[in-house]
Structures are given as C-alpha cells and as structure tokens.
C-alpha cells in the first residue's frame, strides 16, 4: 500500500468550507495516551521564542535592515467617496531625498479586491490608496505626501449598511450595494411550521459594532529585488498566500518570489492576505533599484487593513412550553465596507442547537468605509451575541433555567448534515463551568438585588470548526550531531507554534525540546502549510510533525539494526539512545548513529493525514461571566470569567491558557469598549488611534479560570488536537450580556455595552 495518497480534502477555514486536493499520509500510528502518560506534550513548557521576544532580539519584518534601504509611505484618500480629477506630484518629486512616487497614472493596472485596482481613481473610503512615495527616510516620505496635490471630485457617500440598502442610496459599485447582488440564504425544515408548533415566539433585534483588529505589530513589509527575484519580509499569517498574490499581481512566476516571516506581533485575521502596501513597495523598489520598507502607522491600521463587520440582526426563536426549540430565524445585514468581504453571522444559529426548522437570510452591504476581513471567529462572535441572548430570553419565557434549556436542546449530531461529531464534550464543559462559577447563585429573578451595585451571572455556549486538515507538511532533519530541525511553511502568529511543534517531535524522538530547532514561514525553504487562520494551525501541522518524527524513528531503528546487526526486538530505544545487550552491552546515541550514515543530514517528510469521513469536526466550549453593574454610573465590572472547553488534546498548558486569556480579553474589548466611530455627517473615522479606540487594559481584566474537559480526539488525527484560538473569544460578549441582564433586569441588545447605554436603560 502506498504510504501517501492524494485525496479530496474538505474542511472549514474561517467561515468557509474549502475543498482541495491534498497529499496525505496513510500511515496509522497508535493514538497517544492521555497527557498524564506523555513526557512533553501537554506540559506547560515556556516558549522557545520567549527569550528572543522578551530581550528584544527577535527580528520582526519591520526590524529587517538592508543596505541602501529606503522607506515608503502611502497617501490615502481623506474622503469617504471621491474620484480623482487630477494628481500633481511634481512638487513632491523635487523634495530632496524623494526617490519615487507611484499613482494610478504611472503604476501598472493591477486588479485588486475583484472589481478594483491597486490604484483606482474611484476612491471608495477614507483610507483608499492614492499614491505611494519612496524616500531616503520615512519623515521625507511623509513630507512628500503633503506636497502631492490631488483634486478630488467628491461623491455622495453612505456609511450605514441599513441606509446603503435603500433605493436612493449612493452606489459604490456597478452591481449595486448588496455584495454579490443578492442575499445568501439557508433553509432547513419549514420555518412556518416550526413557528406554528411553538407556544412561545420571540422576535428581537441585536446590533454589533465594527471592531478593528489592531494587532500590536503594524502591517508592513521589507522588499528587495535581486534581478527578477523578489524577496519579501512580511508580517503575515500566510507566507504562501502572500507569495501567490504578489506573484500574480506583478506577473512573476511564483518561483521568483520568496516570502519570509519569522516573528509576528499578532494578526487576528487581518494579515491573511497580501497587502496593497507590499505590492506598492515592490513596484517602487523595482523602479528605484533599492530595497524598500513600508510600515503602516496606527491610523492606517484602523482605516485600511480590515475589521470585524458590524451586524444588524433580527432573530426569531420559537419554543414549546416544555422548552423544545421548534424554529430559529435570522435576517442579518452586515457592512462589507468598500469592497467585497464576508459579513455573515448565521453559523451559530445553524449549528449550535438541535432545531429542525431554520431559516436564514443575510445581506452583505457595501458602505464607504474600510473593508472587512476575517477577524478572530468571524461571524461567530456577532452571531453568538444575538443567539445566546435569544436563548436566555426563550428560557425565561418558559420558566426554565438557561443551562437546563441549553441541555434540553443539545445537538447530539451535527444539525446541518446529520452526521456524528468526532467528539463533543460540551455537556461536560457546561457542567464544569456552571459548578465553578456558582451557577445556582445567580439571581432567580433578574435585577432583583437592591443596592446600587448589582451582580449577575450569565453564560454562553460556543461552537467552532478548528479541526484543520491536509495539506500540511513538515520536514524533519536530523544532523550528524543529533540536533534536529523541523521546517514547515506554517507561521507562528505569537500563539506558540514554534514551541508546540518542537514538543510533538520531542515526544516522538524522546530528546529534549532544546535540541529541536523549528523553522517556519519561508516559502523558499519550507514545505507547504496553509495560512494560520481558522484555528487550524495546531490541528493541521502537529500531525504532520508527528508523521515526520515517527518516520525518522523508523529510519533510525533501521540504521541501528544495520549497525548492531540485530533484529528490531533486540534493540531498545530511550532518551535519544539505542542500546542492546547482545552479544555484549552497546549504546549508540542518535548522533553517533547519524554519523555512521553516509548522508550528513537525515530527512523525512511528514504529512497531515486525512480527516475521518462522515464526521463533523468542531471545538466546543462555554463561558460563564460574573459581573457587577454600578447603577450610579452604568459601568460594568466583569469580575470573573470561567471558560470550559472541549478542544481535543492540550499541547502546552501555558500556551493554551495564553490563547484563552487573550481571547477573553479581546472578547471583553468587543463587549465593553471597542467601536469604530464613523462620523455620520462626513463619513470619516473619529477614533483611529489607541486612546479613542479603546482596547481593554490589564485593569479591565477579570479573574479568569480555565477548564479543559477533553483529553484528546483520536478520531480526528494522530495528535488529537482541535483549535482553540478563535473559540476563546466567541462566547465572551454574549456571556457578559446575559450576566448584565441577570444583574439589572434590562436587556442591552447592542454592543458595546457602554455605561451610557446601561445608565439610560436603567433610567427608563
């Protein structure tokens, strides 16, 4: 039987089910036992890159310094909607130190966002690219931007998705303001029947705001031409994706483009695609014959590199007296921004509960604002905010405990396709979380406490995909001195990928983690892995590393057999050493063994195996929030979050806790503070900086308690890992909103839950 095979691979990446051909490993390994029986996997070892990061010696794209490097800055449209009448760069060109300027007049016409161009004279949002300048310093480039004269024809604009749907609204694109020209729909069962069957029907609207990714490290690239070969150091979540996009944009063979990313200060989805800035820098670098660094500032980050789209959701939920869900309905509107982007948020409603009749209608809408991109659990954070509040409302109407209600409507099989899950321990997560928050202490009647500070407890469930899948490859190299390298075309976003890959290899090879060097994020040297998104990296790449390491063990056994001239059963291996007692005691370290081999480097290629057929693969979890609301000020203090998750196997207790902490804190930012404010009269963003756009601080961070209820998912892969990065954020806003209701007895249906809304709700 062939050991590798090409199959049709299908799995969820962010919101989309992708299907592709992929070569998979057909080797079957004995499932690992639970983590308490493993040596390295699951242990909370500190990050291998920790020292580099803490000491400042880690080099990010921005830190790359090349001889004769120059600096580029972008002129962005100051208006929400305009057409360029004329551009005059002559004054800017004369500034000493300015080396090159590109605009739509002199740059090649490169397609972008499907129906637009790298430089498009039709500018559709505040932040759209008008020109890019390279100069000997960033300061000079900035001065040059000011010296470029642009005459704009101002066009009518719209910055509210609901207004953009109106007949007389200004149009951004020929197709009209609805993305793809029509809503996306989903139906199962019969909604009308479901509504009729019910004893209680609730209809409620919920709104969520636009959230900006704002990763710590700004987007940016350093680009360098060597003849017709282009090297790009980029802050990206997908080196291969950037390579394809940039090569296509510049008309280069992919083999001429190399993309490198070593360290990264976060992306949250905003770095899943190539940036215009990279291509602009490459064009400038080509014309001026010098390397170019382009780095966005915080304002540009807020305007032009993505966001979580807002949502205006109308939900209907129907239940029988005894708390059985009979129908769920959602109509949603979301702002794609100025160019096509996904805005849907129906998956929670479609997949969380066992509900036979479901109907969904979703509109993605163009508005004159920055384009949306995938953002940590796209659709799900918005969707759960609405769904889980509706669920609480329904439970209250039929006098049921919200947790009991959720258990009653528990989906025992995947409700869209009626297939089993590889594993689902949501019930355990519910019970562990409820116990730990003290669920029975919640107010039996919402808002019933007296006194100015009212406390409350609430919860939310979550579902996500995160099973990953092929293709994902890893090369494992064993050097003559026994040192090991893992090389994979994946990328560590700051999540700990370097560390967990080394742990997996260390487990199999039985050598210390420190002996293993992990090399990621280089398209010229590493075998292919997918982009790091959709919480798929650990789930996709660790099985490939295990496959590579197991093959290396086989190879080494084979070498030991040859060297000792003994059958396998006479040879023992432990802690990096082969030993035998026959005919006399002999010991060989893997380094010594490697030195006996003719080749100086032993190499194996590991492949992710196929996902099991006929199963749904999902991560599950629940969060429980305890809040205190000050009724004098309307301020919500989140006191505690309990997170309970089924995510398969824990690879590293520290990095998983980091992920969950980070997800919850980001979720709190979305729940309480963060909001892109567009001025309704001018269409311009008012808070494109870090003190008006408020991300949470450590002071706003509650006590967080984490429970992992799963041991492993052996059906899924040889490491049994499901993703956690996105699941960590999904339930937080809904849990907080439900807790606030429990505290004050008023339901706040729009995010963020700011004090003014609470105070006004309390006054009414």
């Amino acid at each position: 039987m062939a050991e590798n095979k090409i199959i049709k691979s299908k799995f969820f990446f962010e919101e989309e089910e992708i299907e592709q051909l992929a070569e998979v490993s057909e080797r079957k390994y004995r499932p690992w036992p639970n983590n308490d029986k493993l040596k390295v996997v699951g242990k909370g070892i500190t990050r291998l890159d920790g020292y580099d990061k803490v000491s400042g010696s880690a080099t990010y794209a921005f830190d790359v310094i090349l001889p004769r490097m120059t600096f580029a800055k972008t002129l962005r449209c100051p208006h929400p909607h305009a057409r360029i009448k004329s551009i005059d760069t002559s004054k800017a060109e004369k500034i000493k130190g300015v080396l090159g300027i590109i605009t739509y007049l002199n740059a090649p016409k490169i397609k972008w966002y499907g129906n637009s161009f790298l430089f498009d004279p039709h500018l559709r949002y505040e932040g759209d690219e008008v020109a890019c300048v390279a100069a000997v310093s960033e300061a000079i480039a900035e001065q040059a931007l000011k010296a470029i004269k642009v005459e704009y024809e101002l066009l009518p604009f719209v910055v509210d998705a609901r207004k953009a749907l109106k007949k007389d609204a200004p149009k951004l694109h020929k197709e009209g303001n609805v993305v793809r020209g029509k809503p996306s729909k989903y139906n199962r069962g019969d909604l009308q029947n479901g509504l009729k069957e019910a004893d209680v029907v609730i209809e409620q609207t919920f709104n969520t705001q636009v959230e900006i990714h704002n990763p710590t490290e700004p987007h940016g690239s350093v680009v360098n031409w060597n003849g017709d070969h282009l090297t790009i150091w980029d802050s990206t979540q997908g080196v291969f994706r950037v390579r394809s996009q940039v090569a296509a944009a510049l008309g280069l063979p992919e083999s001429n483009v190399r993309v490198i990313k070593k360290y990264m200060g976060g992306g949250f989805g905003s770095k899943l695609e190539a940036g215009k800035y990279t291509v602009m820098a490459a064009l400038l670098a080509k014309t001026i014959g010098r390397p170019v660094r382009i780095a966005l500032d915080r304002r540009e980050m807020n305007l032009a590199v993505g966001n979580r789209p807002d949502s205006f959701q109308t939900l209907k939920g129907a239940v029988t007296k005894d708390g059985r869900l009979t129908a769920l309905y959602l109509k949603s509107i979301g702002s794609a921004g100025a160019y096509p982007a996904g805005t849907g948020c129906a998956w929670p409603l479609r997949s969380m509960y066992d509900c036979p009749n479901v109907s969904v209608e979703e509109y993605g809408v163009y508005i004159n604002a920055g384009r949306a991109r995938a953002f940590r659990a796209p659709g799900h954070v918005q969707g759960f905010f609405a769904l889980e509040q509706l669920i609480d409302m329904l439970a209250e109407k039929v006098n049921m405990d919200p947790l009991e209600f959720r258990l009653q409507n528990y989906a025992h099989e995947e409700p869209n396709w009626h297939i089993p899950y590889t594993s689902k321990l949501l019930k355990q997560a519910y019970l562990v979380g409820a116990k730990s928050i003290g669920w029975e202490q919640r107010n039996k009647v919402a808002g019933s406490q007296s006194g100015p500070i009212k406390t409350g407890i609430g919860m939310s469930s979550q579902i996500w995909w995160g099973g990953g899948g092929p293709p994902a490859y890893a090369n494992l190299k064993l050097n003559r001195d026994g040192s090991v390298q893992i090389i994979a075309g994946s990328q560590d976003l700051g999540t700990g990928t370097y560390t967990i890959l080394a742990q997996v290899a260390s487990e199999v090879l039985d050598i210390p983690v420190e002996k293993i060097e992990v090399i990621l994020g280089d398209t010229d040297t590493a075998p292919y892995c997918g982009s790091s998104g959709g919480s798929t990296t650990a789930a996709s790449v660790t099985p490939a590393v295990r496959d590579a390491a197991e093959q290396m063990m086989d190879k080494l056994y084979s070498a030991a057999m040859a060297q000792f001239d003994l059958p396998k059963n006479k040879i023992k291996y432990a802690k990096g050493k082969f030993s035998t007692v026959e005919p006399k005691p002999r010991v060989l370290t893997i380094g010594q063994l490697a030195r006996k081999m003719g080749e100086r480097v032993l190499e194996t290629v590991g492949r992710r195996e196929a996902n099991p057929k006929g199963y749904a693969i999902n991560s599950f979890g629940a969060q429980f929030a305890e809040v205190a609301v000050d009724t004098n000020t309307g301020k919500i203090k989140v006191q505690k979050i309990v997170a309970a998750y089924d995510i398969g196997r824990v690879l590293n207790r520290l990095t998983i806790d980091n992920q969950i902490h980070g997800g919850i804190i980001q979720g709190l930012g979305f729940a309480l503070f963060e909001d892109r404010i567009l001025d309704r009269n001018t269409g311009k963003m008012l808070n494109a900086n870090f003190h008006d756009y408020k991300v949470p601080t450590i002071k706003d961070t509650p006590e967080i308690e984490i429970h992992i209820v799963s041991e492993t998912d052996n059906r899924l892969s040889n490491t049994g890992v499901k993703g956690v990065g996105e699941p960590a954020m999904i339930p937080t806003p809904a849990a907080v909103a439900n807790a606030v209701y429990n505290a004050i007895g008023k339901r706040i249906t729009s995010l963020p839950l700011t004090p003014d809304k609470i105070l006004m709700a309390l006054q009414s």
């Binding site: 309307g634 001025d679 311009k684 808070n687 706003d700 105070l759």
Partner: protein
C-alpha cells in the same frame, strides 16, 4: 510633523520673549505629552518650539503649614500623586493626580501642561477644520457628540479634559502667570474661559505668558476634599464625567463647600446655586437628594450625551457620601 526651530531658554523672561509672537508661531513645551501629539497630528504647526524644562525654580512643591501649598508649573503629575503632605492635606488633588493618564504620562506630564492642555474633541484632534481651528463649523454639535459638553457650550462644545483643574478649582487654587515685565495671580475660576468668551483658547493666557505656580490655600482640619473620576476604561482614560468637592463639616451640617464638575463643560464647572445650597445642609440623605435635582439644572445635552447629567449627579452624591457620615432617612 513639520520642521521647527527648537529653543531651550534659561529664564522665564527669555521664554516669554521667544513665545510672545502669536499662537501659530510658537508653542510652549513642558512634558510634551500633549504637545507632541498635537505636532505629530498636525493640529498645531508652529515654527518654533520653546522647551520650558530648562527654567529654574519651577519644579518644587513648597508646603507652608497653615498657609499654602505652592506647586511649580514643571512639577510632574507623578510627584503630586505621591507627595506625602499632598496626600495628607489635599487628598482630592493626590487622587486626581493618581488617576490622570498612565504611569508613563504622569512621569512626563507637568501640572502646568495639565491645566493648559488642549481639548480632546475628536474633530479637533482629527483633520477637521472646525470652529476652534479657525473654520466655520462645529462638527460635534450635530455629529458624534457622546463625549462633548452638556452645559456651557456654544458655539463650540468641548469639555475641558484635565483632571487636576477640577480639583484645583474646588480647593480654591490660584494660578500665577508671568510675562516679560509683569505677573499676576488669578483664581482658576477666572483662568479658564468658555467658547463664547474665546473660541480659540481654553484659558486667558496670551502669547508670551507662562504659568509658573499654582497656589492652594491649606484647609483647616474640618475641611474634607475628594475627587471621583468616571472613566469607561479602568486606566489610561480621560474622565467622561468627574466631580471634586471640598466641604467643611461642623455640628452635623455642611458649613460651606464647593462642588466642581469635570467632563460636562468647556471649563471646570462650578454652580453658585449649588454651592449656596450646601451651606448649612444637614447630613441627611433626603437633603442630599435635593442637591441632586439642583445640579446641572441648566444643562442642555446634545443628541448623544444626555447620560452625562444623571451620571454627574450620581457621582456627586457618591462623593459627598464618601466624604461625610450620612444619616439615612
């Protein structure tokens, strides 16, 4: 940022001469925590920047028992927050200082810069040519005005962003202003101005005038003071609304007192009627409730900031309750 000439004067007189042109020409620079932002964002584009940090004698805190506390304009906010005598005798001031901005900003920012800082209105700080910047439109009045003023506004609707000013006024502080050839000392209530008095500046300073000292009378043992700052985020946030109070309590009554609000008006906001009502007020909950109805009575909220009125009133009550033993009804 536009290039500029950088001066480091050694004397107040020299600094005064250098800055005596007009606001567009020259800007004073103390800790720079505000000015640097203004320069980088192109809100102010002066030809000259005059660093005050070289001026001698402005970085002292002098405390004369029974008389006054004198704080030099270059004293850092962190120093005020940590000063033992200030913590003891002027707790409101220490509290306001400790809640200002973030540790880094408090270590750089000075008290002089704090009271002279420019507004945070997001149109003012953005690329909007609004009234205050010499344009002919206030974008806030019919725009995004959640954080704008509810009283004292028009035709511009900023709030004064400083925490310290609110407390300084409640404590009856005075500000000494020096220029080449002259000086004067004015109470803070006369230092700050409303937009209807001067649309372009937030205080009475003229080019060439420099704040050198803040003077605060030392309270007697029956005086109590406090400051409550409401911010959306727990740290590193300007006040949405704040309130400072200093009250003298004797025989179960408030003998006299001052209440000043921040975050509601273009300057620290004090109401005569409210202060008058404080005189002789019994420490009873019901009487305090009356005060609540009186505070900010003339307020005219904009579309998005009506919440500031109950917020300010509730904060006032919470503060008074913190300062005094209140008898429940």
């Amino acid at each position: 940022m536009k290039p500029f000439v950088y001066h480091q004067p050694k004397s107040i007189e020299e600094a005064s001469v250098l800055s005596a042109k007009n606001w567009e020409e020259a800007v004073l620079f103390a800790g720079g925590t505000d000015v640097l932002g203004l320069l980088k964002d192109g809100i102010e584009e002066p030809k000259e920047v005059i660093n005050l940090k070289g001026l001698e004698g402005l970085d002292q805190i002098d405390f004369t028992k029974g008389k006054e506390l004198r704080i030099g304009a270059l004293v850092k906010i962190a120093q005020i927050a940590e000063h033992p005598a200030i913590k003891q005798s002027f707790p409101a001031l220490a509290q306001a200082a400790a809640q200002t901005a973030s540790p880094q900003l408090r270590n750089m920012g000075t008290i002089g810069g704090n009271i002279c800082q420019r507004p945070r209105c997001w149109y003012f700080r953005g690329d909007f040519h609004c009234l205050r910047k010499g344009g002919d439109e206030c974008f806030a009045v019919e725009g995004e005005n959640k954080y704008h003023c509810v009283i004292g506004g028009g035709p511009c609707y900023i709030v004064h962003p400083s925490d310290l000013t609110v407390v300084l006024q409640a404590l009856g502080a005075k500000v000494t202003i020096v220029w080449k050839g002259g000086q004067k000392t004015v109470p803070t209530s006369q230092f700050f101005v409303l937009p209807e008095e001067d649309l372009y500046r937030e205080n009475i300073l003229k080019p060439g005038e420099i704040v050198t000292h803040i003077h605060i009378p030392v309270p007697d043992s029956k005086m109590k003071s406090g400051y409550l700052k409401f911010k959306e985020r727990d740290v590193w946030d300007f006040a949405v609304v704040s309130v400072a109070a200093s009250v003298r309590i004797a025989n179960g009554r408030i003998e006299s007192g001052r209440i000043v609000f921040g975050g509601v008006a273009p300057k620290p906001w004090e109401e005569e009627t409210l202060n008058r009502e404080l005189k002789g007020l019994p420490l009873k909950d019901a009487d305090l409730q009356k005060l609540k109805a009186l505070a900010l009575k003339e307020a005219e909220p904009l579309e998005q900031n009506a919440y500031k009125i109950p917020l300010a009133r509730n904060l006032m009550l919470s503060l008074l309750k913190e300062l005094m033993p209140i008898i429940p009804n």
